[in-house]
């Protein structure tokens, strides 16, 4: 069970770190100054969540690996993040579509995780769930305005949703180890969040006057180390400084 908790905390951390890094790539490129700061804020929220989950994973593992070891000194094949978060940042509409899909899942998921029988997971979730409620609100407002906006914003929003949806299904997947954690009350049951997620994204897309995609597709494999080609180059860049100067502090 200890090894299952390690893998579980690690996969939550990897999701948050990689998506947080994708958001940080908007710094100085966002459409407006206000949104530049907003996207940095969202990225920093996720980075903060990643740090807590990595630290917990390292403690559970008991081999002396701290958050930096886990974030900067593992190769792509050892990462356990879903493929959705790996995709390049795309345009602003794609980023908002992904934020909507992710936050509409993670907000209720973290809420469920606050009731985990593992108190350290519950504590992290209690902090993160409030952040994710804002991520959901932020993304929803933008999707509504871009979808129901100009011809160009609508076209981009349709493309963004179409690009994101095939990858959304992986958020609901669980392997045997995670199912055992769910049975023990340590991890939430991902499959039970389907109705909530469908309702949330459906409400937003309808208000955005966009068609609801048939179903979240099943592009997956990230939890088992089968990644998109986009993850490795991103990690190489993100990890380069820490690997070049392993003793550096800042």
């Amino acid at each position: 069970m200890t090894s299952a908790v390690f893998t579980f905390a690690l996969s939550l951390a990897d999701d948050a770190l990689v998506l947080g890094h994708r958001l940080s790539e908007w710094s100085s490129y966002a459409p407006t100054l206000e949104e530049d700061i907003a996207l940095s804020n969202l990225g920093l929220d996720l980075l903060g969540q990643a740090r807590l989950f990595y630290t917990l994973a390292g403690d559970v593992e008991g081999k002396g690996r701290d958050e930096d070891r886990l974030a900067y000194f593992r190769d792509a094949s050892d990462f356990r993040c879903i493929q959705l978060v790996q995709l390049p940042k795309g345009d602003f509409a794609f980023t908002m579509a992904r934020q909507l899909a992710y936050a509409a899942f993670m907000q209720p998921y973290l809420d469920a995780l606050t009731r985990s029988t593992e108190p350290r997971l519950a504590e992290i979730a209690a902090k993160a769930v409030k952040e994710m409620a804002y991520h959901l609100r932020h993304a929803a407002e933008w999707v509504i305005r871009l979808g129901d906006g100009t011809e160009e914003s609508r076209r981009r929003m349709i493309d963004g949703v179409a690009a994101v949806w095939p990858y959304a299904g992986e958020m609901f997947e669980m392997d045997d180890a995670e199912r055992a954690l769910a049975a023990a009350g340590i991890a939430p049951d991902r499959t039970r969040l389907r109705t909530t997620w469908d309702y949330t994204v459906g409400r937003v897309l309808r208000e955005a006057t966009l068609d609801l995609p048939d179903a979240a597709g099943q592009q997956s494999g990230g939890r088992h180390g089968r990644h998109t080609p986009h993850l490795a180059p991103m990690l190489t860049e993100m990890q380069s400084l820490a690997r070049a100067m392993p003793e550096a502090t800042w």
Partner: protein, 96 residues
Amino acid sequence: MTTTTTTPLWEVFIRPRSGLPHKHCGSVHAADAELAVQAARDVYTRRGESVSIWVVPSAAIVASDPNDKDQLFEPTASKIYRHPTFYDIPDEVGHM
């Protein structure tokens, strides 16, 4: 998507934790009121400064004319008796 001159400007007021009144802190560009609140939250409350946000369309602010400053403000300069420094305030009243 670029900010054009048609993206409205909003004045932002935030209320600090101390319970003091809302105070003007700056402005943001946003397409509508909801996004203005979000932008204000992200730009001006990142360090826990606030428990409440007001946004007001900048166009709705009515300002005094700088050319009127003599008639509006100059006359008060000679009325120092309006300052409360002439009165003894009991210690129990505390900070006013």
